[in-house]
């Protein structure tokens, strides 16, 4: 059975080019980049070179880039840094953050910090809600750039303006961290990079290898774990040079083709939405083009539990993601992003996520829309 993969937001297939760079680098640089013998120095130089190229690709200073094991660790470095603050702080967090950030709320509260969670009507945080949440003791604001389930782009420019104005008025310092895992290499960086104090990125969402990512932080942060001094002492552990090299290769490719890929993906997504519009039972949850990534589409078939629909499509060779799990125990947790976005329970129960990459073809989309339409028709008829 031929398989059609529409879960790129979870993980994308590694590209041949990235794999080749990985292999070549692994074979060429056998030594630890921190070692002082010549193979070690060569590996160190290679790492330094990649860091510089990453910096110029992003337009940021190289010393503000820290390679990590992925987006989760990059997010954790920032969260842990603020967890270590001696004085209680206030933090503002969007209700639609990825679990790698949202799960820190409990820990912040346990350590005596206070937290304001912002709702996101229709999947978007409003600058007004950020403005009303800020307090003189607010030290950290956590708002992702592109939501991982709905694909909504957050208005970080306006949010940043609100924060900077507040800082000036109250003579305080507020760190704005943006999880850019679904944004980097996928939407124009002007949406997020100039506005956030730090961003997190993951390679395997860009057809790079798993287990590598980066944190860019223009502001210093406290390192939660001491170690071997790698990454300027901020992230100990031997650097994964082959993966970092492959990560750069796919980042460069994404940024070089960004506009053409965006236009292609948008036309594919528009086509999919148009096809699905023939069935009133299928509800598109992601807002229109200007506020969403072209690579992610959130939708719902309210009467069909998302888990059931995912299973049925899987049996046809089509992989999509559920917006939630059917287990009642974890239901609220799994549906958090939809609930925080203001969707009703019926929409949440049938919520699905379709995500793809720049290589998606019209045939793929035709196959997907045909499968979704046929299976939803069949199930809705079956269920009476």
């Amino acid at each position: 059975m031929e398989r059609y993969y529409f879960d790129w937001a979870a993980s994308s297939p590694i590209s041949t080019e990235a794999l080749q760079v990985y292999t070549e680098t692994a074979l060429q640089h056998i030594a630890n980049p921190s070692s002082v013998h010549s193979p070690g120095r060569a590996a160190g130089a290679a790492l330094s070179g990649i860091r510089s190229r990453f910096a110029s690709l992003m337009g940021v200073p190289a010393q503000q880039l820290f390679f990590t094991s992925g987006g989760t660790e990059a997010n954790a470095l920032i969260c842990n840094s603020f967890l270590m603050k001696k004085r209680p702080i206030h933090l503002v967090i969007s209700g639609i953050e990825h679990p790698s950030i949202f799960a820190y709320i409990q820990r912040f509260k346990q350590l005596g910090h206070s937290v304001t969670i912002l709702p996101a009507p229709g999947g978007r945080i409003t600058p007004e809600s950020v403005a009303s949440a800020l307090r003189p003791d607010t030290a950290l604001v956590l708002i992702m750039s592109v939501n991982n389930v709905l694909g909504t782009i957050q208005p970080l420019e306006q949010i940043s303006a609100v924060i900077r104005a507040y800082e000036q008025r109250h003579r305080c310092r507020i760190h704005l961290h943006a999880d850019a895992v679904q944004a980097f290499g996928k939407i124009d960086r002007s949406h997020y990079l100039p506005h956030a104090d730090s961003i997190s990125v993951s390679a395997h969402k860009l057809q790079g290898p798993r287990g590598t990512g980066l944190l860019y932080s223009r502001k210093p942060f406290l390192t939660p774990s001491p170690g071997g001094g790698q990454e300027s002492g901020m992230r100990p552990g031997t650097e994964n040079l082959p993966a970092i090299a492959a990560f750069y290769q796919c980042s460069l490719r994404c940024h070089s083709n960004l506009e053409a890929d965006l236009a292609h993906a948008q036309s594919m997504k528009d086509h999919l939405i148009m096809e699905l519009a023939s069935r009133p039972a299928i509800k598109v949850l992601t807002p229109p083009q200007e506020h969403a990534s072209p690579y992610i589409l959130g939708l719902s078939i309210p009467r069909i539990p998302s888990e059931v629909f995912m299973r049925v499509l899987d049996d046809r060779g089509v992989s999509i993601s559920t917006g939630s799990a059917c287990s009642s125990k974890n239901r609220k947790k799994a549906q958090r992003i939809f609930l925080q976005s203001g969707f009703d329970q019926r929409l949440c129960d049938g919520a699905l996520r379709i995500s793809f990459g720049p290589s998606v073809t019209a045939d793929d989309i035709a196959m997907l829309s045909r499968s979704v339409i046929e299976e939803s028709d069949r199930l809705l008829k079956e269920m009476g």
């Binding site: 539990p305 287990s327 125990k329 079956e382 269920m383």
Partner: protein
């Protein structure tokens, strides 16, 4: 010939039996023999004591203990040492048996010696004094307490000297041996209750097969896998079983499309009992077993049970009917099913569960609803289409 290990087995309820006691003992021996195939189990009943001998090879102790601790009909068992009738050999065996325990838990003890062979030169009292002395010498922190000892050590002088201790005693499920009460069919779901129900009935001597209703794609294959795992966990208690997986989707959808929403669960359960009866007939099961507990959910009220019972031509046994949920959970933990039961792959619920189920249904009205479904053909098709998973020993 391989060295042999000896176990003393304590029978509980079997001892209360009269003339038919040997029938129960024979069944117990058969069940243990099945589980210990390859270890050449041999049984000996000596003056009211039930001894098991198995080959002493690598892994045999763990295997024997796992087998005996899941065999209903036995209350407890303990590894027993057998020596020559020589006081020095007996003293050595006492230390070998109790040493590992007393070195970690120096507690009070009592030695109970019995001398059936009166030709043995020491009296029972003298045997107790000699062996108690060597324990005190070896583990000075232990002390003798003849009234309320924490550990009791038993020495019996017969054809040989037999030594066992309460410190080595392991509990069995108790009850009666599986198979003495005929065969039933357990309605196994992925929840906490039904595996416990199966276990309970096994301790009453009921051999059981199990039946599960699979509603793919509305229930996941993970849910089915969970049920298979649960069946594997309870298999030793049930002395093996066959699991029948019924393809229930067509019937479920038919119920859904042709009846009132508030009646879905009741009609579904009625149909399940109907199918279970068909399967029971094929596999020669004479009763159904369910994990229902009175008033736990809407389909477990007296009125609901009255209706679902009426689908069955054979008795429906509900061993948990009067138990508190906490008691059921305690047993589930003891038999090792709890952690699997609470895995979050439960029935996919939302499609088929009514928001407002009937709590006190009228039996006649429900029977009329069932009749109007005209579903018999689908139920027969489902019963015939079972996937069969063999978990027998």
């Amino acid at each position: 010939m391989a060295a042999r290990q000896l176990y003393l087995i304590r029978l509980g309820e079997i001892c209360l039996k009269g003339e038919n006691r040997s029938f129960f003992e024979k069944k117990l021996r058969t069940n243990i023999t099945y589980k210990l195939k390859g270890l050449h189990p041999a049984f000996r009943i000596q003056k009211g004591r039930f001894f098991l001998e198995v080959d002493d090879i690598e892994g045999s102790e763990a295997r024997t203990e796992a087998a005996l601790s899941t065999t209903s009909g036995l209350v407890a068992f303990s590894k027993t040492l057998k020596t020559e009738k020589d006081i020095e050999a007996i003293k050595e065996a006492v230390i070998a048996l109790t040493g590992p325990y007393f070195s970690k838990n120096p507690q009070s003890f009592k030695v109970n010696a019995r001398r059936s062979d009166k030709s043995f030169p020491l009296s029972s009292y003298e045997i107790s004094c000699e062996t108690g002395g060597i324990i005190l010498d070896t583990f000075p922190q232990c002390r003798v307490d003849v009234h309320t000892p924490e550990i009791s050590i038993y020495i019996e002088i017969r054809d040989k000297a037999y030594i066992y201790s309460s410190s080595n005693m392991i509990k069995g499920p108790g009850g009666l041996p599986v198979g003495i009460a005929g065969k039933g069919l357990l309605l196994l779901s992925g929840g906490i209750d039904s595996p416990v129900a199966g276990y309970r009935m096994a301790t009453r001597g009921l051999r059981q097969d199990a039946i599960y209703f699979h509603t793919y794609p509305y229930t996941s294959d993970e849910a089915l896998q969970k049920v298979k795992d649960l069946a594997r966990i309870i298999a030793p208690y049930l002395s093996g079983l066959t699991l029948y997986v019924v393809p229930f989707t067509k019937a479920q959808l038919h119920i859904n499309a042709n009846s009132d929403n508030s009646e879905h669960t009741l009609l579904m359960r009625y149909c399940m009992v109907k199918i279970a009866n068909m399967v029971a007939d094929t596999v020669h099961a004479k009763t159904l077993v369910t994990g229902e507990s009175l008033s736990q959910v809407a389909s477990q009220t007296l009125e609901s049970i009255t209706f679902t019972d009426s689908a069955s031509a054979i008795p429906v046994l509900r061993p948990l009917i009067g138990l508190d949920k906490e008691d059921i959970i305690t047993t589930a933990r003891e038999i090792g099913t709890f952690e699997t039961s609470i895995l979050p792959f439960e029935d996919c619920c939302t499609v088929f569960s009514p928001k407002h189920p009937k709590v006190r249904p009228d039996k006649q009205a429900m029977t009329d609803s069932y009749e109007s479904l005209k579903i018999e053909g689908l139920l027969e098709e489902a019963a015939k289409g079972c996937e069969v998973i063999d978990l027998r020993f």
